[in-house]
Amino acid sequence: MPMKKFINRPENIVPELLEGFALSHPKQIRLTGSNLVARATPKAKGKVGVVTLGGSGHEPGLSGFVGEGMLDISVAGEIFAAPGAPRCLEAIRLADYGAGVLFIVLNHAGDVLSANITMEMAKREGLNVKMALTHEDIAGGSNPEDRRGLVGFLPVYKVAGAAAEQGGSLDTCLEIAERMGRNMRTLAVAVQTATHPSTGQPIFELGDDEMEIGMGQHGEAGTGRMKLKTADETAEIVLEMLLKDLEVKPGEELLVIVNGAGATTLMELFILFRRVHQILKAKGIKLVRSQVGEFITTQEQAGFQLMIARMDAELIRLWDAPSNAPYFVVR
Protein backbone atom coordinates (compact mmCIF):
# COMPACT_ATOMS: atom_id res chain seq x y z
CA MET A 1 0.00 0.00 0.00
CA PRO A 2 1.47 3.37 -0.95
CA MET A 3 1.96 5.86 1.84
CA LYS A 4 -0.96 8.27 2.05
CA LYS A 5 1.04 11.38 2.78
CA PHE A 6 1.13 14.64 0.88
CA ILE A 7 4.82 14.81 0.15
CA ASN A 8 7.01 15.07 -2.90
CA ARG A 9 10.37 13.35 -2.95
CA PRO A 10 11.13 11.85 0.49
CA GLU A 11 14.59 13.40 0.58
CA ASN A 12 13.03 16.87 0.17
CA ILE A 13 10.54 16.60 3.02
CA VAL A 14 12.53 18.59 5.56
CA PRO A 15 13.62 21.54 3.38
CA GLU A 16 10.13 21.77 1.90
CA LEU A 17 8.34 21.68 5.22
CA LEU A 18 10.66 24.30 6.67
CA GLU A 19 10.11 26.49 3.63
CA GLY A 20 6.34 26.16 3.98
CA PHE A 21 6.51 26.83 7.70
CA ALA A 22 8.56 29.98 7.22
CA LEU A 23 6.31 31.23 4.41
CA SER A 24 3.23 30.70 6.55
CA HIS A 25 4.53 32.80 9.45
CA PRO A 26 6.58 35.57 7.87
CA LYS A 27 5.99 37.97 10.75
CA GLN A 28 7.26 35.59 13.41
CA ILE A 29 9.98 33.51 11.83
CA ARG A 30 12.39 33.19 8.93
CA LEU A 31 14.95 30.70 7.70
CA THR A 32 18.54 31.77 8.03
CA GLY A 33 21.95 30.20 7.44
CA SER A 34 21.76 26.45 6.84
CA ASN A 35 18.00 26.23 7.14
CA LEU A 36 17.90 27.38 10.74
CA VAL A 37 14.49 28.50 11.99
CA ALA A 38 15.03 31.90 13.57
CA ARG A 39 12.92 34.75 14.88
CA ALA A 40 11.97 37.22 12.17
CA THR A 41 13.21 40.07 14.37
CA PRO A 42 16.30 39.20 16.39
CA LYS A 43 16.36 39.89 20.10
CA ALA A 44 17.87 43.07 21.47
CA LYS A 45 21.62 43.05 22.16
CA GLY A 46 22.57 42.04 25.68
CA LYS A 47 19.87 39.41 26.11
CA VAL A 48 20.41 35.68 26.37
CA GLY A 49 19.73 33.67 23.21
CA VAL A 50 17.78 30.43 23.47
CA VAL A 51 18.52 27.64 20.99
CA THR A 52 17.24 24.10 20.62
CA LEU A 53 17.80 21.17 18.27
CA GLY A 54 15.81 18.12 17.26
CA GLY A 55 14.62 15.86 14.50
CA SER A 56 11.84 16.83 12.10
CA GLY A 57 8.60 14.96 11.56
CA HIS A 58 7.19 16.05 14.93
CA GLU A 59 5.51 19.26 13.80
CA PRO A 60 4.81 21.77 15.25
CA GLY A 61 7.60 20.69 17.61
CA LEU A 62 10.23 22.03 17.93
CA SER A 63 10.47 24.89 15.46
CA GLY A 64 6.85 25.94 16.02
CA PHE A 65 8.00 27.52 19.27
CA VAL A 66 10.48 29.99 17.85
CA GLY A 67 9.30 33.51 18.55
CA GLU A 68 9.43 36.44 20.92
CA GLY A 69 9.28 35.09 24.45
CA MET A 70 10.34 31.58 23.52
CA LEU A 71 13.13 30.30 21.25
CA ASP A 72 15.57 32.34 19.18
CA ILE A 73 16.64 29.53 16.90
CA SER A 74 15.58 25.95 16.33
CA VAL A 75 17.93 23.61 14.50
CA ALA A 76 15.78 21.03 12.72
CA GLY A 77 17.35 17.73 11.70
CA GLU A 78 16.18 15.15 9.24
CA ILE A 79 13.01 13.16 9.92
CA PHE A 80 13.32 11.81 13.48
CA ALA A 81 17.09 12.46 13.41
CA ALA A 82 19.15 15.00 15.31
CA PRO A 83 20.88 17.71 13.30
CA GLY A 84 24.65 17.48 13.32
CA ALA A 85 26.96 19.68 15.33
CA PRO A 86 27.96 22.05 12.49
CA ARG A 87 24.50 23.56 12.13
CA CYS A 88 24.01 23.68 15.91
CA LEU A 89 27.24 25.59 16.24
CA GLU A 90 26.13 28.00 13.56
CA ALA A 91 22.86 28.57 15.44
CA ILE A 92 24.66 29.27 18.69
CA ARG A 93 26.92 31.79 17.03
CA LEU A 94 23.89 33.55 15.55
CA ALA A 95 21.91 33.54 18.79
CA ASP A 96 24.69 35.10 20.81
CA TYR A 97 23.57 38.67 21.39
CA GLY A 98 26.33 39.33 23.87
CA ALA A 99 24.89 37.66 26.96
CA GLY A 100 25.51 34.05 26.01
CA VAL A 101 23.27 31.27 24.79
CA LEU A 102 21.11 28.72 26.55
CA PHE A 103 21.07 25.47 24.56
CA ILE A 104 18.01 23.36 25.40
CA VAL A 105 18.39 19.71 24.53
CA LEU A 106 15.85 16.90 24.80
CA ASN A 107 17.37 13.70 26.10
CA HIS A 108 17.50 11.44 23.06
CA ALA A 109 20.65 9.59 22.13
CA GLY A 110 21.24 11.38 18.85
CA ASP A 111 20.38 14.84 20.11
CA VAL A 112 22.62 14.57 23.13
CA LEU A 113 25.55 13.29 21.09
CA SER A 114 25.19 16.13 18.68
CA ALA A 115 24.73 18.65 21.46
CA ASN A 116 27.81 17.45 23.32
CA ILE A 117 29.94 17.70 20.20
CA THR A 118 28.50 21.16 19.62
CA MET A 119 29.25 22.26 23.18
CA GLU A 120 32.84 21.11 22.80
CA MET A 121 33.28 23.04 19.57
CA ALA A 122 31.55 26.09 21.00
CA LYS A 123 33.81 26.13 24.01
CA ARG A 124 36.85 25.76 21.79
CA GLU A 125 35.62 28.90 20.00
CA GLY A 126 35.19 30.69 23.31
CA LEU A 127 31.42 30.99 22.99
CA ASN A 128 29.45 31.51 26.19
CA VAL A 129 26.94 28.70 26.05
CA LYS A 130 25.27 26.51 28.65
CA MET A 131 23.22 23.43 28.06
CA ALA A 132 19.95 22.43 29.74
CA LEU A 133 18.93 18.83 29.23
CA THR A 134 15.26 17.83 29.57
CA HIS A 135 14.53 14.27 30.67
CA GLU A 136 11.11 13.84 32.18
CA ASP A 137 9.83 10.61 30.67
CA ILE A 138 9.29 8.35 33.64
CA ALA A 139 9.11 5.32 31.33
CA GLY A 140 12.91 5.42 31.38
CA GLY A 141 13.05 4.17 34.96
CA SER A 142 14.75 5.74 37.93
CA ASN A 143 18.02 6.76 36.29
CA PRO A 144 17.61 10.32 35.00
CA GLU A 145 19.95 9.58 32.10
CA ASP A 146 17.47 7.03 30.83
CA ARG A 147 14.54 9.42 30.88
CA ARG A 148 13.84 10.96 27.56
CA GLY A 149 12.76 14.50 26.90
CA LEU A 150 9.14 14.55 25.75
CA VAL A 151 6.57 17.37 25.65
CA GLY A 152 8.21 18.90 28.74
CA PHE A 153 10.32 20.88 26.31
CA LEU A 154 7.31 23.18 26.00
CA PRO A 155 7.30 24.61 29.54
CA VAL A 156 11.10 24.69 29.53
CA TYR A 157 11.21 26.74 26.30
CA LYS A 158 8.44 28.91 27.68
CA VAL A 159 9.83 29.80 31.08
CA ALA A 160 13.47 29.99 30.00
CA GLY A 161 12.45 31.97 26.91
CA ALA A 162 10.46 34.40 29.03
CA ALA A 163 13.34 34.80 31.48
CA ALA A 164 15.69 35.55 28.57
CA GLU A 165 13.23 37.99 27.03
CA GLN A 166 12.94 39.80 30.35
CA GLY A 167 16.69 40.27 30.49
CA GLY A 168 17.68 37.44 32.83
CA SER A 169 21.35 36.44 32.81
CA LEU A 170 22.52 33.15 31.32
CA ASP A 171 22.82 31.67 34.78
CA THR A 172 19.31 32.81 35.64
CA CYS A 173 17.88 31.34 32.46
CA LEU A 174 19.70 28.07 33.07
CA GLU A 175 18.48 27.95 36.64
CA ILE A 176 14.89 28.54 35.48
CA ALA A 177 15.16 25.86 32.79
CA GLU A 178 16.60 23.38 35.24
CA ARG A 179 14.06 24.17 37.92
CA MET A 180 11.26 23.64 35.43
CA GLY A 181 12.94 20.44 34.24
CA ARG A 182 13.38 18.99 37.74
CA ASN A 183 9.73 19.58 38.52
CA MET A 184 8.12 17.95 35.53
CA ARG A 185 7.21 14.37 34.57
CA THR A 186 5.74 12.88 31.40
CA LEU A 187 4.38 9.53 30.31
CA ALA A 188 3.34 8.62 26.79
CA VAL A 189 0.67 6.20 25.58
CA ALA A 190 0.33 4.82 22.06
CA VAL A 191 -2.49 2.89 20.46
CA GLN A 192 -1.60 3.05 16.79
CA THR A 193 1.65 3.30 14.90
CA ALA A 194 2.69 5.86 12.33
CA THR A 195 4.51 5.31 9.07
CA HIS A 196 7.97 6.74 8.65
CA PRO A 197 7.51 9.47 6.05
CA SER A 198 10.76 8.69 4.29
CA THR A 199 10.41 4.93 4.12
CA GLY A 200 6.66 4.35 4.29
CA GLN A 201 7.32 1.66 6.93
CA PRO A 202 5.20 1.37 10.05
CA ILE A 203 7.36 2.40 13.00
CA PHE A 204 6.22 -0.33 15.36
CA GLU A 205 3.60 -3.04 15.61
CA LEU A 206 0.75 -3.06 18.08
CA GLY A 207 -2.08 -5.57 18.30
CA ASP A 208 -5.58 -4.53 17.28
CA ASP A 209 -6.74 -4.50 20.89
CA GLU A 210 -3.52 -3.30 22.50
CA MET A 211 -2.13 -0.07 23.79
CA GLU A 212 1.31 0.71 25.14
CA ILE A 213 2.18 2.92 28.07
CA GLY A 214 5.67 4.34 28.06
CA MET A 215 5.91 5.08 24.38
CA GLY A 216 8.66 7.21 22.90
CA GLN A 217 8.30 10.03 20.48
CA HIS A 218 9.74 8.00 17.69
CA GLY A 219 7.62 5.03 18.41
CA GLU A 220 10.46 2.95 19.79
CA ALA A 221 8.44 0.34 21.60
CA GLY A 222 8.08 1.17 25.28
CA THR A 223 7.49 -1.25 28.04
CA GLY A 224 3.89 -1.42 29.12
CA ARG A 225 1.69 -3.25 26.65
CA MET A 226 -1.81 -3.91 27.79
CA LYS A 227 -5.34 -4.35 26.51
CA LEU A 228 -7.07 -1.18 25.41
CA LYS A 229 -8.74 0.68 28.25
CA THR A 230 -11.31 3.43 28.44
CA ALA A 231 -10.20 7.06 28.45
CA ASP A 232 -10.90 7.34 32.17
CA GLU A 233 -9.00 4.19 33.08
CA THR A 234 -6.05 5.21 30.93
CA ALA A 235 -5.93 8.69 32.42
CA GLU A 236 -6.05 7.23 35.92
CA ILE A 237 -3.19 4.79 35.34
CA VAL A 238 -0.95 7.37 33.74
CA LEU A 239 -1.70 10.18 36.17
CA GLU A 240 -1.15 7.99 39.21
CA MET A 241 2.27 6.97 37.93
CA LEU A 242 3.22 10.60 37.33
CA LEU A 243 1.96 11.86 40.69
CA LYS A 244 3.85 9.14 42.47
CA ASP A 245 7.07 9.79 40.62
CA LEU A 246 6.94 13.56 41.17
CA GLU A 247 5.77 13.00 44.77
CA VAL A 248 3.00 15.54 44.46
CA LYS A 249 1.28 16.48 47.69
CA PRO A 250 -2.19 17.95 48.24
CA GLY A 251 -2.17 21.72 47.98
CA GLU A 252 0.64 21.84 45.46
CA GLU A 253 0.12 23.65 42.17
CA LEU A 254 0.45 21.83 38.87
CA LEU A 255 0.70 22.66 35.20
CA VAL A 256 -0.83 19.85 33.11
CA ILE A 257 -0.23 19.27 29.42
CA VAL A 258 -2.07 16.71 27.30
CA ASN A 259 -0.25 16.36 24.00
CA GLY A 260 -1.80 14.50 21.07
CA ALA A 261 0.49 12.16 19.13
CA GLY A 262 -1.03 13.00 15.75
CA ALA A 263 -4.12 10.98 14.87
CA THR A 264 -5.64 11.08 18.32
CA THR A 265 -8.29 13.75 18.25
CA LEU A 266 -8.60 16.86 20.36
CA MET A 267 -12.00 15.42 21.32
CA GLU A 268 -10.22 12.51 23.02
CA LEU A 269 -7.62 14.77 24.62
CA PHE A 270 -10.43 16.80 26.21
CA ILE A 271 -12.06 13.64 27.53
CA LEU A 272 -8.73 12.54 29.04
CA PHE A 273 -8.04 15.98 30.49
CA ARG A 274 -11.47 16.02 32.10
CA ARG A 275 -10.60 12.89 34.04
CA VAL A 276 -7.19 14.27 35.04
CA HIS A 277 -8.93 17.38 36.34
CA GLN A 278 -11.41 15.31 38.34
CA ILE A 279 -8.71 13.18 39.94
CA LEU A 280 -6.54 16.13 40.90
CA LYS A 281 -9.53 17.90 42.38
CA ALA A 282 -10.42 14.85 44.42
CA LYS A 283 -6.87 14.73 45.77
CA GLY A 284 -6.80 18.42 46.65
CA ILE A 285 -4.03 19.14 44.14
CA LYS A 286 -4.37 22.49 42.36
CA LEU A 287 -4.41 22.46 38.59
CA VAL A 288 -3.30 26.03 37.99
CA ARG A 289 -2.43 26.00 34.30
CA SER A 290 -3.04 23.62 31.41
CA GLN A 291 -2.58 23.07 27.72
CA VAL A 292 -4.42 20.53 25.58
CA GLY A 293 -3.37 20.16 21.97
CA GLU A 294 -0.70 18.92 19.57
CA PHE A 295 2.73 20.29 20.45
CA ILE A 296 4.96 17.41 19.44
CA THR A 297 3.55 14.74 17.17
CA THR A 298 4.82 11.56 15.56
CA GLN A 299 3.16 11.60 12.19
CA GLU A 300 -0.24 9.88 12.24
CA GLN A 301 0.56 7.88 15.39
CA ALA A 302 -2.39 7.64 17.77
CA GLY A 303 -1.84 8.21 21.45
CA PHE A 304 -0.94 11.00 23.83
CA GLN A 305 1.56 12.29 26.34
CA LEU A 306 0.47 13.45 29.75
CA MET A 307 2.79 15.88 31.49
CA ILE A 308 2.52 17.31 34.98
CA ALA A 309 4.78 19.95 36.47
CA ARG A 310 5.01 21.45 39.91
CA MET A 311 4.86 25.21 39.60
CA ASP A 312 5.98 28.05 41.84
CA ALA A 313 5.02 31.71 41.58
CA GLU A 314 7.98 32.63 39.40
CA LEU A 315 7.44 29.73 37.00
CA ILE A 316 3.78 30.65 36.68
CA ARG A 317 4.66 34.26 35.97
CA LEU A 318 7.09 33.19 33.25
CA TRP A 319 4.61 30.68 31.83
CA ASP A 320 2.03 33.48 31.56
CA ALA A 321 4.42 35.91 29.87
CA PRO A 322 3.66 36.89 26.26
CA SER A 323 4.85 34.89 23.27
CA ASN A 324 4.32 35.23 19.55
CA ALA A 325 5.65 31.78 18.61
CA PRO A 326 3.50 30.53 15.72
CA TYR A 327 2.11 27.55 17.62
CA PHE A 328 2.11 29.07 21.10
CA VAL A 329 0.72 32.55 21.10
CA VAL A 330 0.28 34.07 24.56
CA ARG A 331 -1.28 37.50 24.82
Binding site: G55, G77, E78, I79, F80, A81, A82, P83, G84, A85, P86, R87, H108, A109, G110, L113, S114, N116, I117, E120, A139, G140, D146, R148, H196, S198, T199, Q201, I203, G216, H218, G219, E220, A221, G222, T223
Partner: protein, 220 residues
Protein backbone atom coordinates in the same frame (compact mmCIF):
# COMPACT_ATOMS: atom_id res chain seq x y z
CA UNK B 1 57.16 1.15 -0.28
CA UNK B 2 54.63 -1.10 -1.94
CA UNK B 3 52.64 -1.69 1.23
CA UNK B 4 52.26 1.95 2.25
CA UNK B 5 49.06 3.97 2.03
CA UNK B 6 48.76 7.37 0.39
CA UNK B 7 45.94 9.85 0.51
CA UNK B 8 44.74 8.35 -2.78
CA UNK B 9 44.76 4.84 -1.37
CA UNK B 10 42.71 6.16 1.50
CA UNK B 11 40.33 7.70 -0.98
CA UNK B 12 39.87 4.30 -2.60
CA UNK B 13 39.33 2.67 0.79
CA UNK B 14 36.56 5.21 1.33
CA UNK B 15 35.17 4.45 -2.11
CA UNK B 16 35.15 0.75 -1.23
CA UNK B 17 33.30 1.47 2.02
CA UNK B 18 30.82 3.63 0.14
CA UNK B 19 30.16 0.89 -2.40
CA UNK B 20 29.66 -1.62 0.37
CA UNK B 21 27.17 0.63 2.22
CA UNK B 22 25.35 1.52 -0.98
CA UNK B 23 24.79 -2.14 -1.77
CA UNK B 24 23.31 -2.79 1.68
CA UNK B 25 21.61 0.41 2.78
CA UNK B 26 18.09 -1.00 2.52
CA UNK B 27 19.09 -3.90 4.74
CA UNK B 28 20.59 -1.45 7.25
CA UNK B 29 17.38 0.56 7.44
CA UNK B 30 15.46 -2.65 7.82
CA UNK B 31 17.67 -3.68 10.75
CA UNK B 32 17.04 -0.27 12.30
CA UNK B 33 13.28 -0.89 12.19
CA UNK B 34 13.54 -3.64 14.79
CA UNK B 35 14.61 -1.41 17.67
CA UNK B 36 15.14 2.01 16.11
CA UNK B 37 13.47 4.30 13.64
CA UNK B 38 14.43 2.70 10.35
CA UNK B 39 16.73 5.42 9.07
CA UNK B 40 20.18 3.99 9.60
CA UNK B 41 20.71 2.98 5.97
CA UNK B 42 19.70 6.43 4.73
CA UNK B 43 22.03 8.13 7.17
CA UNK B 44 24.93 5.88 6.25
CA UNK B 45 24.29 6.53 2.57
CA UNK B 46 24.54 10.26 3.14
CA UNK B 47 27.59 9.82 5.33
CA UNK B 48 29.58 7.79 2.81
CA UNK B 49 28.60 10.19 0.06
CA UNK B 50 30.13 13.01 2.07
CA UNK B 51 33.19 10.91 2.87
CA UNK B 52 33.71 10.38 -0.84
CA UNK B 53 33.30 14.07 -1.57
CA UNK B 54 35.89 14.93 1.04
CA UNK B 55 38.42 12.84 -0.87
CA UNK B 56 37.23 13.75 -4.36
CA UNK B 57 39.51 15.44 -6.91
CA UNK B 58 39.97 19.02 -5.83
CA UNK B 59 40.02 18.21 -2.12
CA UNK B 60 43.21 18.83 -0.13
CA UNK B 61 46.29 16.77 -1.03
CA UNK B 62 46.98 16.32 2.63
CA UNK B 63 45.42 13.23 4.31
CA UNK B 64 45.06 15.06 7.62
CA UNK B 65 43.16 17.89 5.99
CA UNK B 66 40.96 15.46 4.08
CA UNK B 67 40.10 13.55 7.23
CA UNK B 68 39.28 16.75 9.10
CA UNK B 69 37.04 17.81 6.25
CA UNK B 70 35.48 14.36 6.11
CA UNK B 71 34.71 14.42 9.83
CA UNK B 72 33.08 17.85 9.65
CA UNK B 73 31.06 16.84 6.62
CA UNK B 74 29.78 13.64 8.19
CA UNK B 75 28.88 15.54 11.36
CA UNK B 76 26.79 17.73 9.08
CA UNK B 77 24.66 14.86 7.79
CA UNK B 78 21.92 15.61 10.37
CA UNK B 79 21.35 11.89 10.65
CA UNK B 80 21.20 11.28 14.37
CA UNK B 81 23.51 9.20 16.52
CA UNK B 82 25.43 7.35 13.86
CA UNK B 83 26.49 10.32 11.78
CA UNK B 84 27.62 12.21 14.87
CA UNK B 85 29.71 9.25 15.95
CA UNK B 86 31.08 8.51 12.50
CA UNK B 87 31.89 12.19 12.01
CA UNK B 88 33.69 12.23 15.33
CA UNK B 89 35.59 9.11 14.28
CA UNK B 90 36.95 10.78 11.15
CA UNK B 91 37.59 14.12 12.87
CA UNK B 92 39.53 12.22 15.50
CA UNK B 93 41.59 10.41 12.88
CA UNK B 94 42.87 13.73 11.67
CA UNK B 95 44.45 14.28 15.06
CA UNK B 96 46.65 11.19 14.79
CA UNK B 97 50.35 12.14 14.70
CA UNK B 98 50.97 9.31 12.21
CA UNK B 99 48.72 10.94 9.64
CA UNK B 100 51.40 11.70 7.04
CA UNK B 101 51.82 11.28 3.30
CA UNK B 102 52.58 7.57 3.06
CA UNK B 103 51.81 5.37 6.00
CA UNK B 104 52.20 1.72 7.00
CA UNK B 105 49.96 -0.71 8.88
CA UNK B 106 51.11 0.59 12.23
CA UNK B 107 50.39 4.18 11.26
CA UNK B 108 47.00 3.12 9.98
CA UNK B 109 46.23 1.48 13.30
CA UNK B 110 47.31 4.67 15.07
CA UNK B 111 45.00 6.72 12.86
CA UNK B 112 42.01 4.50 13.58
CA UNK B 113 42.92 4.48 17.26
CA UNK B 114 42.87 8.27 17.30
CA UNK B 115 39.41 8.18 15.74
CA UNK B 116 38.23 5.71 18.34
CA UNK B 117 39.67 7.81 21.15
CA UNK B 118 37.69 10.81 19.92
CA UNK B 119 34.51 8.72 19.81
CA UNK B 120 35.08 7.55 23.36
CA UNK B 121 34.82 11.15 24.50
CA UNK B 122 31.27 11.15 23.15
CA UNK B 123 29.99 7.75 24.13
CA UNK B 124 30.56 5.41 26.99
CA UNK B 125 29.42 2.45 24.93
CA UNK B 126 31.90 -0.41 24.81
CA UNK B 127 31.80 -3.82 23.18
CA UNK B 128 28.93 -5.75 24.71
CA UNK B 129 26.58 -2.79 24.70
CA UNK B 130 25.16 -3.63 21.28
CA UNK B 131 26.32 -0.58 19.35
CA UNK B 132 28.72 0.14 16.52
CA UNK B 133 31.45 -0.22 19.14
CA UNK B 134 30.94 -3.99 19.03
CA UNK B 135 32.35 -3.97 15.52
CA UNK B 136 34.66 -0.99 15.68
CA UNK B 137 36.64 -1.78 18.81
CA UNK B 138 37.62 -5.38 17.88
CA UNK B 139 38.33 -4.25 14.32
CA UNK B 140 40.83 -1.66 15.49
CA UNK B 141 42.29 -4.07 18.01
CA UNK B 142 42.80 -6.60 15.23
CA UNK B 143 44.38 -3.93 13.07
CA UNK B 144 46.79 -3.04 15.83
CA UNK B 145 47.63 -6.69 16.52
CA UNK B 146 48.28 -7.34 12.84
CA UNK B 147 50.47 -4.27 12.56
CA UNK B 148 52.40 -5.26 15.68
CA UNK B 149 52.85 -8.72 14.17
CA UNK B 150 54.40 -7.10 11.10
CA UNK B 151 51.56 -7.91 8.74
CA UNK B 152 50.97 -5.88 5.58
CA UNK B 153 48.28 -3.22 5.37
CA UNK B 154 45.97 -5.44 3.40
CA UNK B 155 46.46 -8.31 5.81
CA UNK B 156 45.81 -5.99 8.73
CA UNK B 157 42.69 -4.63 7.07
CA UNK B 158 41.44 -8.16 6.42
CA UNK B 159 41.95 -9.08 10.06
CA UNK B 160 40.10 -5.93 11.04
CA UNK B 161 37.21 -6.67 8.70
CA UNK B 162 36.97 -10.21 10.02
CA UNK B 163 36.90 -8.97 13.61
CA UNK B 164 34.30 -6.33 12.72
CA UNK B 165 32.06 -8.92 11.09
CA UNK B 166 32.35 -11.27 14.06
CA UNK B 167 31.64 -8.39 16.42
CA UNK B 168 28.63 -7.27 14.44
CA UNK B 169 27.21 -10.76 14.25
CA UNK B 170 27.64 -11.24 17.97
CA UNK B 171 25.42 -8.23 18.66
CA UNK B 172 22.47 -10.39 17.78
CA UNK B 173 22.60 -11.98 21.22
CA UNK B 174 23.19 -8.79 23.15
CA UNK B 175 20.86 -6.38 24.92
CA UNK B 176 21.03 -2.74 23.83
CA UNK B 177 22.34 -0.35 26.45
CA UNK B 178 22.85 2.79 24.33
CA UNK B 179 21.02 4.76 21.67
CA UNK B 180 17.35 4.61 20.82
CA UNK B 181 17.30 0.83 21.21
CA UNK B 182 18.15 1.08 24.88
CA UNK B 183 14.57 1.63 25.97
CA UNK B 184 13.63 -1.70 24.48
CA UNK B 185 16.08 -3.52 26.72
CA UNK B 186 15.70 -7.28 26.54
CA UNK B 187 13.44 -7.03 23.50
CA UNK B 188 16.43 -6.06 21.36
CA UNK B 189 17.91 -9.54 21.63
CA UNK B 190 17.68 -11.49 18.42
CA UNK B 191 18.27 -8.49 16.17
CA UNK B 192 21.71 -7.56 14.90
CA UNK B 193 22.67 -3.96 15.68
CA UNK B 194 22.49 -1.74 12.61
CA UNK B 195 25.42 0.48 13.57
CA UNK B 196 27.71 -2.49 14.17
CA UNK B 197 26.59 -3.97 10.89
CA UNK B 198 27.47 -0.86 8.97
CA UNK B 199 30.89 -0.68 10.64
CA UNK B 200 31.50 -4.22 9.49
CA UNK B 201 30.40 -3.29 5.98
CA UNK B 202 32.72 -0.31 6.00
CA UNK B 203 35.72 -2.41 6.97
CA UNK B 204 34.88 -4.89 4.22
CA UNK B 205 34.77 -1.93 1.88
CA UNK B 206 38.11 -0.62 3.16
CA UNK B 207 39.64 -3.98 2.21
CA UNK B 208 38.17 -4.19 -1.24
CA UNK B 209 38.92 -0.53 -1.90
CA UNK B 210 42.51 -0.95 -0.83
CA UNK B 211 42.88 -4.15 -2.86
CA UNK B 212 41.64 -2.37 -5.93
CA UNK B 213 43.97 0.51 -5.20
CA UNK B 214 46.97 -1.82 -5.09
CA UNK B 215 45.75 -4.09 -7.85
CA UNK B 216 46.16 -7.02 -5.46
CA UNK B 217 44.15 -10.19 -5.64
CA UNK B 218 42.30 -11.57 -2.64
CA UNK B 219 45.01 -14.05 -1.67
CA UNK B 220 47.89 -11.73 -0.82
Amino acid sequence: MKDGITRDDFARMIAGAAASIRAQHAMLSQLDCAAGDGDHGTTMLRAVERLEKSFAPGSPEDLKACLREAGWNVLGVDGGASSSLLGTFFSGMADAPACGASIGASDLAAIFEAGLAAMRKQTKAEPGDKTMMDALVPAIQALRAAADAGKSVIEALRDAAGAARAGAEATRNLTARYGRAKLLGEKTRGHQDPGATSMSLMFEGFCSGFEESKGESGNA
